[in-house]
Symmetry: C2
Subunit: 412 residues, 2 copies
């Protein structure tokens, strides 16, 4: 089961004025599983997104980026369409045609142009999209469009996820209540590089398109780009932020404004909660681990050290076993590739327990203190490099038998 | 059990004139396990080595490099001393003192200077070396020195290894028979970066010191630096090459000579066999996988792609399950970070089965063909990038339940 995670309940998820969602069972996954989602946006809604940097990016990612790039006043984004059960990645020209056909049919049903539809897919790679089923399922999804459907939408995008992931939050901008609601999916093949598997966050706030793009990048950088389950960057990562402008706040246009800062903070917090939910539901996860690297020369070197620890199978299996075999963390820091690192100057903490300093075990460190922290389901690894003022945080999970089981069985 | 690996038998291992080896049970590991090895060299033997680039490199690595750097005619290397059961890494100044004390006692017993002794350790990181046991065990190891001890030496350096690794080979240089014998250990924390866990190869050939150094680098680059089990670069990697000069060949001094090429090839072959043995005995391994990336622009980008595939937990678990979920390989190539990669131009083969081309599944690819290859215990993944003339090969293994089990239980 996910680590210390209370799944959302439908009542917690606040509708966003201007956004309706509809789901269907299209038979792409097993019978009885919702696997198709349409998100319809009001006229005037603005959309920004970040996508995987995997060179083998999926056909829908290519089309969604193309459509988003060419958005203009005459062709604003009208809808998003998401299928699970098949990634439509590694599918060549046929995959591109399938993604376009999905947009075309969605547009026909909604009465807009196919260029106004953004397609997304998640599931198995290198198998052709069952286009017939997708197209046959679309009318039911469109018929289901409702503002209250965020919860079932979060279910409809799940693959190996055990729990749906959805968060709502309200903030006040200049006296006006603004709502933010988001959903995400992801559990394995998680080492986002620009974004995570799939996440959609909408707000009713009004703001300019450049500021929306600014926020989506900032939020991704501080949420989905800070998590890893297995170090595998997906072919289908996408994080989409929608602003419907229906809240009634005066449109935010200045990056220096207090309202921009508040909105960016609110959206980033929702994104971070969704990102952490992905790690808590990481394939086979039994522990949630926060890795903080502090006082580095640059954020980049802090990230290098944090990811080296987060990706080490030896570190991850030690967490699974609650075994304070913490020299493995030192080894990971040592091969992280930090230029001119002086290992004698750094400190390693497990929660508040000082484990290592001066290149070796701290004199007062006791195995039983390390053991106590390792047994917890929430653990913070803190590395203080003592060579600058930069820092970075990465969230990850342990590596268990179940990770192997889930990924050995995934297609069967 | 190791993948398609026949462990060496004592009779296969040829002594090297000028080298004697002695082992002892010093009680660093469990009772009844050989855990201490002394290798004594003849006067005039030349030694070259490559070491881990992990910043947290172990105390014995620091001392061995220091001693090797300062070798001169008055202080040639006289002996190597190796303990298993404790890595003496992440042990700060105390660890350095322990490594020096080990050299001092070995030198005293052998009647040489402590600067002439190279120390090595392997085992748990960040626990103090049990120096008393090491020192107490040394007299027995020295008393045991024999030319025929290569096999028990290969046993004495094992940690989580299931099988000992040792290879002998003879070549003819200008009419003279030259012998090469080597041993290695390693099973987990294997992603050598300059060398592997520990390997010692000796030859009786005579050659100059610069050429010996040339060969050790070339052999490492084409053997230990081409393997990975879990992507974790060890703190203690060391690969040492010894030339005793006792074979009677005229000393090789020209890099352009046929003899140099032959000797380099022979030593590299021994190193490659030992490196592959480490992968075959990789923790939890059930399959031996060769990853060949061809027709890249540079060897570096070929290595990037090969290591991305070799390190992907999703690819490794698919191999374990014999599941031809081969889109995972495309995803790994896609995030390998190859500059300007055109995914539509590459081909992916599993043995001789063409799996993907033109950005997607090959038209003639049949799941049953992929399935057949995936069920084998020896598999070659071949990626043809079609953008240049460079290539690289990496050897790795799958990721199984037993990898998790071994590393969750290692210290207990």
């Amino acid at each position: 089961m996910p680590v210390n995670f209370t799944p959302p309940v439908p009542e917690q998820l606040l509708p966003i004025e201007g956004v309706t969602l509809g789901v269907a069972e299209a038979g792409i996954k097993k019978p009885g599983r919702r696997d198709l989602l349409v998100i319809r946006l009001n006229e005037g809604a603005k959309v920004a997104g970040v996508f995987t940097q995997n060179d083998f990016c999926a056909a829908p990612v290519i089309i969604a980026k193309e459509h988003l790039l060419n958005v203009d006043a005459s062709y604003p984004v009208c809808a998003l369409v998401v299928n699970t059960g098949n990634a439509n990645a590694g599918t060549g020209e046929g995959g591109i045609a399938d993604a376009r056909a999905t947009c075309l049919e969605t547009a026909r049903l909604l009465g807009c142009d196919s260029r106004q539809v953004l397609p997304f897919s998640t599931g198995v790679i290198m198998e052709p999209l069952p286009l017939g089923r997708v197209l046959a399922g679309l009318p039911a999804a469109v018929a289901d469009l409702k503002a209250e459907n965020w919860f079932i939408a979060s279910q409809a995008i799940m693959t190996t996820d055990i729990v749906p992931k959805a968060v709502s939050k309200q903030i006040t901008l200049d006296g006006t209540t603004v709502t933010i609601t988001g959903i995400a999916k992801g559990s394995g093949m998680i080492r986002p590089h620009m974004a995570t598997m799939l996440s959609y966050i909408a707000t009713d706030a009004a703001l300019s398109q450049p500021l929306l793009q600014e926020i989506v990048s900032h939020a991704a950088e501080n949420s989905f780009n800070r998590i890893t389950v297995d170090g595998d960057t997906s072919t289908n990562d996408a994080f989409i932020l929608i602003a419907t402008g229906q809240a009634g706040n005066s449109a935010i246009t200045a990056k220096e404004s207090a309202e921009f800062a508040l909105l960016q903070e609110g959206i980033t917090e929702v994104a971070a909660q969704l990102a952490q939910a992905i790690v808590r539901d990481g394939e086979g996860a039994t522990k949630f681990i926060t890795i903080q690297v502090e006082r580095g020369e640059t954020p980049d070197e802090c990230r290098k050290a944090a990811y080296a620890i987060a990706h080490s199978p030896l570190v991850k299996t030690a967490f699974f076993a609650s075994d304070p075999n913490l020299g493995r963390i030192l080894a990971a820091i040592g091969y992280a590739g930090i230029d001119g690192l002086n290992v004698n100057k750094l400190q390693l903490y497990l929660d508040n327990v000082l484990v290592a300093e001066n290149g070796g075990r701290a004199p007062d460190y006791l195995e039983k203190d390390g053991q106590r922290v390792m047994k917890q389901s929430e653990i913070t690894v803190r590395v203080v490099l003592n060579r600058g003022q930069a820092s970075a945080t990465v969230w990850t999970c342990d590596l268990s038998y179940d990770y192997v089981k889930i990924n050995a069985d995934y297609r069967s």
